[in-house]
Amino acid sequence: MNSKKQNRKEKLSKEIIGEVIRASSTEFETQCYDLYGFPPLGSLVLSDDENPIFGIVSHSVTESLDPSRTPRPRGPGLADVKSIYQESPQLKNLLNSRFTSITVGYIQSQTVVRKLSPVPPKILSITRISTESELIEFSSNFDFVARLLNSSFASSDDVLASFLSIAARLRPEPDQYLIDTGKEIASLLPGQMRRVNLILRNASI
C-alpha cells in the first residue's frame, strides 16, 4: 500500500479496526480493515453504533477470503515471513482477519450495563478498541466474569485470563485486582479451585 493512502487510513481509524459482519445475541464477528489488524485476545472492544455494545475478543482467525483457495506454503528457505508479504502484496487482498467477541455488556444512556444487549449490533457497524477509561470502568465490576465463564465458548477461561491481565495492568495494584476478581471467580466455580488457579496464573503473567 502506498504511504499516502496508509496515512489517510491511520487518521481515519485511530482505534477503529473493522466492521461487524456477523452478530448474534451472545457474540459478534468483526472483519478487520487490515490483515492481522485484530486486537489481542481478551481485549475489550465496542461495536460502536447508536447502541454501543461491549465485547471481549475471544477468537481470532485469519484465512483466505475465498474458502476454495487455500494459501500455498512458500517452501523452505523463506524464513522471513515479512519478506513473503513484501514479495506477495496481493496476500493482503486475499486473506482477511476476523475476530469474534463475546458480548459482555452495552452502554445505555452513558452508563455501562454488564448484561447481554437487548439487540445484537448491526451488521457493518464499526468495531473499535475500547479506551483505557472505558476498560477501567467496565472492569471495575465483576459481573462480566460470569458472562465469560458461562459462555459456550470453548477457551473462555483463557479469554478471561487474557482480559484480566489487560485490565489488571491498568490498575495501580494489579495483584490486588486479580485477587478481587479471583474471589469472584472462585465463588462462581465452587469446588474448582484448580481451574481458578489456572485462570489466575495465566492472568498474572
Partner: protein, 554 residues
C-alpha cells in the same frame, strides 16, 4: 436492599486488619447460628466470646461468638493445597474456597424501630443472610447500659474499647461470687466491685480482708508495685479495722479500730464451723454445745482453764460427753489462746463499732494481718462477726418492717476462702449459708471470692445472683460455676479460653446476657483518676481541687 448489596455494604464495614463480618447461612436458636465470614475478613480477628450484632429484618439481635471453624467448599482442596497455598491464589482461596465460619449464640433481641427499651432475650433467630458484625459501642451501651451513677464500668467486652457496665443496684440484690484460680485477678476484680458498690451508695461493704489487700495497699504481681487500697482512694468512705495492729502500723496505717474478740463472744457454733479445719469429730464438736449449756457464756475460758485428768473426768461425766472427745476439743481450742486479739476480760464492742460505721454508710475493711495466714482465725472471726451483725441487721430490718425507723443500708459482706466453710456439710450451719440462701431478706448479701467453687455447697452456688468468673481449669470448678446456667457448653468454651489474668466471664442476674470481659485496669494513676481519685500531692490536681472548691463555694 438485596442481600448482595447488604454484603457489599458489609464489606466496607470491615476496616482494620483484624476486622471481620459475615452473613447468617444456617443454624438454630438452640445450637447457635452459622455465620459465613466475608472473604475480606480475617479469621484470626475473630475471638470466641466476642459480642456481635445481627441485623435482622425487623429485629436487631445480639449474640456471642461461640466457635470458629475453617471450612472449604472444595472437597479436593487438600489435594492441591500446595499449588494454591502461595501468592495471589492463596489470597483468592481465602474467603472463597477456604473460608471461615463462626458460630454465634443469639442471646438478645430488640425491635429495630424500638429506641427506648432494652433488649429482651432472643426467642427466635434472624433470617438467612442477615449480616453479622462486631457489636458497636452503641450496641454495648444498649445492652449493658451507659456508665452512670449506679452503672459501674467493670471492664470492656473482649477486644473492644467500649465500657461495659454493671447495674450495681441489681448486683447487690443478691449474693454474688468472684471465682477463678489463683493469680487470675479475683482480688483486683473484687476491689473494683467494692469501689463500684461504694461509689453507688446503694450498699455498704464489710470486707473480711484476709490478705490485707483491699483496704490499704494491695500488691500487683505483674507490675511489682503497691496498688492503692480503698481507704487510700476514698478516705472518707472507708474505715479500716484491724485484727493485727502491729502489722497494720508496719504498713503505715493507723487503723480506725483495733478489733478484740472476747472469749465470751465465742459460741459453740463458731467451733462447729471450724470442725473440719480443727479436725474435730462430730462428738467433739457437740461437746462444745454441752459445755455451753454447762458453763454458760463463759464456757470457753472455763473449759480452757480446766486442767488435770481428774477435773476432765468429772467434767466429762457431768456433761455426759466422751472423755476422749472432750480432751481432743480441749487440745484444739487451746490454740485460740495464741490469738492476741482474744481477750479474757471484757465483752468487746467490735460489732457495735462496725455497725456504727456501716450505719453511717462507711465501708469497713477488716484487715487480718498475720492472722490472714491462719484460716481458723479467719473463719472464726468472720463467722462470729457476721453472725452478730446479721442478727442486728435482722432486728433492724424487722423493726423497720413493723414501721419503726428506716431500713438498714444494704450490706455486702465480702469473704474469701469460702470453700473452707461453705462446704455441703457446713453450709446449713453457718451464717454465710443462711445469708446466701435468703437473698436479701435482711438487706445483707455476701460476695464470695474463691478459687475452688466446686467445694462450695451446690445450693449456695445456685443462689448466687451474679458470677464473675476468671480462668478456671479444673473441670469440677467449671461445672459448679456454670451449673444451672443455660448454654453451658458454649460458656464452658468461652471460659476455658479466657486469658490467665484480668479477664472474666460475667453472667447472671445483673447482666442481660453473659459477657466475656477484660477487667478494667486497676493500679495505674489513670485508673485511680477514673475512679474519681485526685492525688492531693499532685499540684495540678490540687489546684484543680481548689478550683472546684471555689466553683462550689464561690
Amino acid at each position: 436492599m438485596n442481600s448482595d448489596e447488604k454484603f457489599e455494604q458489609l464489606k466496607q464495614n470491615v476496616n482494620a486488619e483484624d476486622g471481620w463480618s459475615g452473613v447468617i447461612v444456617g443454624g438454630s436458636l438452640s445450637d447457635g447460628l452459622e455465620v459465613r465470614l466475608s472473604s475480606e475478613s480475617s479469621i484470626e480477628g475473630v475471638k470466641v466470646g466476642r459480642l456481635v450484632t445481627i441485623e435482622g429484618k425487623t429485629h436487631r439481635f445480639f449474640g456471642q461468638v461461640s466457635d470458629v471453624i475453617l471450612e472449604s467448599s472444595d472437597r479436593n482442596l487438600s489435594i492441591y493445597s500446595e499449588e494454591i497455598s502461595e501468592g495471589i491464589m492463596a489470597k483468592v482461596a481465602t474467603g472463597t474456597a477456604a473460608y471461615g465460619k463462626i458460630k454465634v449464640q443469639p442471646k438478645l433481641s430488640i425491635k429495630t424501630s424500638d429506641t427506648s427499651s432494652s433488649p429482651q432475650s432472643a426467642k427466635t433467630v434472624p433470617p438467612h443472610f442477615s449480616k453479622v458484625a462486631v457489636s458497636a459501642h452503641s450496641d454495648i451501651e444498649l445492652i449493658f447500659g451507659k456508665e452512670a451513677p449506679g452503672k459501674f464500668w467493670i471492664g470492656s467486652p473482649l477486644d473492644m474499647e467500649s465500657k461495659l457496665c454493671l447495674d450495681i443496684n441489681e448486683f447487690t440484690k443478691r449474693s454474688n461470687g468472684v471465682f477463678g484460680k489463683s493469680g487470675t485477678g479475683k482480688t483486683f476484680l473484687t476491689r473494683l466491685l467494692l469501689a463500684g458498690i461504694l461509689q453507688s451508695g446503694k450498699a455498704v461493704n464489710l470486707v473480711f480482708d484476709m490478705h490485707s489487700e483491699y483496704g490499704w495497699q494491695g500488691y500487683s504481681e505483674t507490675e511489682n508495685h503497691q496498688v492503692k487500697g480503698l481507704k487510700q482512694l476514698f478516705p472518707s468512705k472507708v474505715a479500716i479495722f484491724s485484727l493485727d495492729e502491729e502489722h497494720s502500723k508496719r504498713r503505715g496505717l493507723t487503723p480506725d479500730y483495733v478489733v478484740r474478740i472476747g472469749y465470751k463472744e465465742i459460741e459453740p457454733e463458731d467451733v462447729e464451723i471450724l470442725r473440719e479445719s480443727l479436725s474435730l469429730s462430730p462428738q467433739a464438736a457437740d461437746a462444745a454445745h454441752s459445755l455451753y449449756r454447762h458453763y454458760g457464756k463463759n464456757w470457753l475460758l472455763e473449759f480452757l482453764n480446766t486442767s488435770g485428768t481428774e477435773s476432765f473426768n468429772s467434767l466429762a461425766s457431768q456433761i455426759n460427753v466422751n472423755q476422749g472427745a472432750l480432751s481432743t476439743l480441749h487440745r484444739r481450742l487451746s490454740g485460740f489462746s495464741r490469738y492476741e486479739f482474744m481477750d479474757t476480760t471484757s465483752v468487746h464492742d467490735s460489732v457495735n463499732q462496725i455497725l456504727r460505721y456501716l450505719d453511717r454508710g462507711i465501708n469497713v475493711v477488716l484487715e487480718f494481718g498475720k492472722y490472714g495466714r491462719d484460716t481458723d482465725a479467719y473463719i472464726l472471726v468472720a463467722n462470729l462477726l457476721t453472725r452478730r451483725i446479721y442478727e442486728r441487721y435482722a432486728e433492724h430490718k424487722e423493726r423497720a418492717l413493723s414501721g419503726i425507723g428506716d431500713e438498714p443500708t444494704p450490706l455486702v459482706i465480702t469473704i474469701e476462702e469460702a470453700h473452707k466453710y461453705l462446704t455441703p456439710e457446713l453450709a446449713n450451719q453457718t451464717i454465710f449459708g443462711t445469708i446466701a440462701r435468703e437473698m436479701r431478706k435482711y438487706n445483707v448479701t455476701i460476695l464470695i471470692v474463691d478459687q475452688r467453687p466446686s467445694q462450695i455447697d451446690e445450693e449456695v452456688m445456685s443462689q448466687l445472683g451474679t458470677k464473675l468468673v476468671c480462668l478456671l481449669d479444673n473441670n469440677k470448678d467449671v461445672d459448679s460455676v456454670l451449673s444451672g446456667v443455660s448454654g453451658q457448653r458454649k460458656l464452658r468454651s468461652v471460659l476455658s479460653s479466657l486469658d490467665s489474668r484480668q479477664q472474666a466471664l460475667v453472667f447472671g442476674h445483673a447482666l442481660p446476657m453473659p459477657v466475656e470481659i477484660r477487667v478494667r485496669d486497676y493500679g495505674t494513676p489513670e485508673s485511680y483518676k477514673s475512679l474519681g481519685f485526685t492525688d492531693p500531692t499532685n499540684k495540678k490536681d490540687l489546684s484543680q481541687i481548689n478550683q472546684d472548691k471555689s466553683d462550689l463555694f464561690g
